[in-house]
């Protein structure tokens, strides 16, 4: 085996130009893959961090309360008891916050718009204050009753500034119209495309709007130690809550504000709990990530196909040049499988060295790009919920990229190597003659 490795290494070194050209291409593909996956990881982490602060936890325990079968209120009664049950069933839990959920119309002197209204207790919120970039006002003033935080797009559309009043109007879940005036205390920089539909008021204000008592909440947002466990925890929690005596809604991959009509049509009354994940509550983020991943896969496939064709061509050339050598080696007693191994070793060695170099370069480039704090163009900022390009290098992903490229490239060398192994010694030697 060592001799085969030596033959492979020396043949690669002998055809320096060809090796550098193909090895360089493999390395570039690896660099691109490492950068793309790092960009995906970075974007995912950044979107997840922002989205799970604004509108969802990794897992959400919320639900609907129906006084009559034709109504639907996005509330959980006796939330403190539910919180204790949840806490006991989720050892993966890192933290949780209680939020209120509402949907209504924001009316200013000049215009109006529909908005998702979240009730928050600003003093209990952790990341919320750090994630939001407040451009005007003071977010801590959300502790004051009848205060509201809106985003810049809303402020522009409704022509609102700090200190202005905006009327928050909604239908209570008993069917009566209600409205309260809120003072704009903070205006935040947009955080993704959907932030223009979000606004935040104190929990007490939201309860007042809907006429709820203090034992109700919109839902409990759970933050896990490992967000990738969200689906697992949600599934387990659905069963756990049923065992604990709660009625649990069937899982639907939709945010709560898209479920009103569905719930209203259902023939039940009272409380039902809905356990969702961040992917359910933020479909835009899910679509963005799925789309991003699809783009990576397509780009990767195209690049990989090019590389495989390159490897096959290179080995075809090597085999053509060394047909006489193959014939002689077969004549002196080299078995077909050893000929196959000889050429596959050459392909594998080139793939491994090139993809390793590419992975190292890719990681360095990712750190370099992060250090450069590159600004994203506006459109991407809205979609990806981040101002700067953030690349997150994940060692297992880098190793996987490296292995996939090296493995697939090696696979590409099998066909030409197999053809070389099938050469009849006499024909191979004739070609030399």
């Amino acid at each position: 085996m060592f001799t085969l490795l030596q033959i492979a290494a020396r043949n690669l070194a002998r055809n320096r130009k060809r090796t550098l050209l193909l090895g360089g291409a493999i390395a570039i593909v690896t660099v691109l893959l490492v950068l793309l996956t790092a960009l995906f990881n970075g974007t995912q982490a950044s979107m997840l961090r922002n989205a799970t602060t604004l509108s969802t936890g990794h897992v959400n325990v919320a639900g609907f309360y129906k006084i009559t079968s034709g109504t639907a209120a996005p509330v959980v009664t006796e939330y403190a008891k539910l919180r204790d049950v949840v806490q006991s069933q989720v050892p993966e839990l890192q933290s949780m916050v209680v939020r209120g959920r509402g949907f209504g119309k924001l009316v200013s002197d000049v215009s109006s718009q529909m908005a998702v209204v979240s009730g928050i207790d600003i003093e209990q919120e952790g990341n919320f204050k750090n994630i939001l970039e407040i451009v005007h006002g003071d977010v801590s003033k959300l502790s004051e009753p009848h205060s509201i935080l809106i985003f810049e797009q809303t402020a522009e559309r409704l022509e609102l500034k700090i200190g202005d009043n905006v009327t928050l109007s909604s239908q209570t879940f008993r069917g009566a119209a209600n409205s309260i005036d809120c003072k704009v205390v903070a205006i935040a920089k947009p955080l993704g495309m959907f932030s223009s539909f979000f606004s935040y008021v104190p929990m007490t204000t939201l309860r007042e709007l809907y006429g709820f008592d203090p034992t109700t909440a919109g839902g409990i947002q759970l933050y896990l130690k490992d967000w990738e466990q969200a689906e697992l925890v949600a599934a387990r929690l659905r069963l756990g809550l049923v065992k604990a005596g709660y009625r649990v809604m069937d899982h639907t991959e939709k945010p709560y504000w898209q479920k009103f009509d569905i719930v209203k049509r259902e023939d039940w009354t009272g409380q039902k709990i809905d356990v969702t994940t961040w992917m359910d509550e933020d479909p835009f983020m899910r679509w963005t990530l799925v789309g991003f991943r699809a783009i990576i896969v397509i780009v990767f496939m195209v690049l990989l196909a090019i590389i495989i064709i390159g490897v096959m061509n290179t080995l075809w050339m090597a085999i053509r040049e060394r047909t006489r050598e193959v014939g002689a080696l077969r004549a002196i007693g080299m078995q077909r499988h050893t000929v196959l191994a000889m050429f596959v070793t050459e392909g594998a060695l080139l793939a491994l060295i090139s993809s390793t170099s590419g992975a190292i370069l890719g990681v360095l480039a990712a750190y370099g790009l992060n250090a450069a704090h590159l600004k994203m163009i506006k459109g991407f900022q809205m979609v990806l919920m981040s101002e700067t390009v953030t690349l997150l290098v994940n060692v297992p992903t880098v190793l996987l990229s490296l292995l996939v490229i090296a493995g697939v490239t090696t696979l590409g060398s099998i066909l030409p190597a197999w053809r070389a192994a099938r050469l009849q010694p006499v024909e191979a030697m004739h070609s030399s003659n």
């Binding site: 001799t3 030596q6 033959i7 020396r10 043949n11 002998r14 006489r324 050598e325 014939g327 002689a328 080696l329 077969r330 004549a331 002196i332 007693g333 080299m334 078995q335 077909r336 050893t338 009849q424 010694p425 006499v426 030697m429 030399s432 003659n433």
Partner: protein
């Protein structure tokens, strides 16, 4: 691998034909060839270009199979062996010396000679080293053991090729025009070496169309248009050519 006593022929061909298909045309390269090579012989297959010398060596060397007839090498009927068995037979019973040396360009002289032993997997590293160095010394190339073929002259390369052919202690060494790519002085040196090795017990069968080379043989098999027309001494061959 079958073993045979010294009196048994190493090679036995009986009524062998070899046809090649060139499109719709069948070309017969060998017709009704019968031949025996006994251990210790130094036999030359002589004949003009296109007479079938290389085809005959290919059949004996188990790199090709006969269309009709029987080819026995080291006691085995090559027509009945699988591809893998033929390869093993070549590795263990035969040595090859090629006109163009056909050394592995990226391995040095030592590694080229060692290569068949690595394929055999019978000897450990120190044993292989001893065998290879002995042979390199024997063919007078030990000082160039770590030179690659590109750094050696034609004669030196052919010496390495001879050492490679001998390293597995084959029953017979087949050489296809071994001096054709060498100048006459180097060619003579190579023939001297082969004769010396033959005197020490190695069986050689080689092809040539050079009458000067034929004179070195113990026996000459004359081939014309794919048929053996004579088996004679070098002197008889010389007279027939005159």
């Amino acid at each position: 691998m079958a073993t045979h006593s010294a009196s048994h022929p190493i090679v036995h061909l009986s009524n062998v034909d070899k046809d090649y298909q060139l499109g719709a045309v069948t070309v017969t390269a060998l017709r009704q060839v019968s031949l025996e090579i006994a251990p210790g012989e130094f036999t030359v297959i002589a004949g003009p270009s296109g007479s079938g010398k290389t085809t005959l060596l290919n059949l004996i060397g188990c790199v090709d199979v006969a269309t009709r007839g029987q080819v026995m090498v080291a006691g085995q009927d090559t027509g009945k062996l699988s591809e893998g068995d033929l390869t093993r037979l070549r590795l263990n019973a035969l040595g090859f010396i090629f006109q163009s040396f056909n050394l592995v360009g990226v391995l040095d002289a030592f590694q080229n000679v060692e290569f068949p032993l690595l394929l055999q997997k019978k000897l450990n590293a120190p044993q292989r080293r001893e065998r290879v160095m002995d042979l390199l010394k024997r063919v007078g190339i030990d000082e160039h053991a770590h030179h690659r073929p590109g750094e050696l002259s034609g004669g030196q390369r052919q010496r390495v090729a001879i050492a490679r052919a001998l390293v597995t202690l084959p029953r017979i060494v087949l050489a296809d025009e071994p001096t054709a790519n060498l100048d006459s002085v180097t060619g003579n040196q190579i023939l001297d070496l082969m004769q010396e090795l033959n005197r020490e017990g190695t069986t050689f069968l080689f092809s040539t169309h050079d009458p000067k080379v034929v004179t070195r043989a113990g026996r000459v098999v004359r081939l014309v248009d794919g048929r053996i027309v004579a088996e004679e001494t070098p002197e008889q061959y010389k007279n027939s050519q005159a």
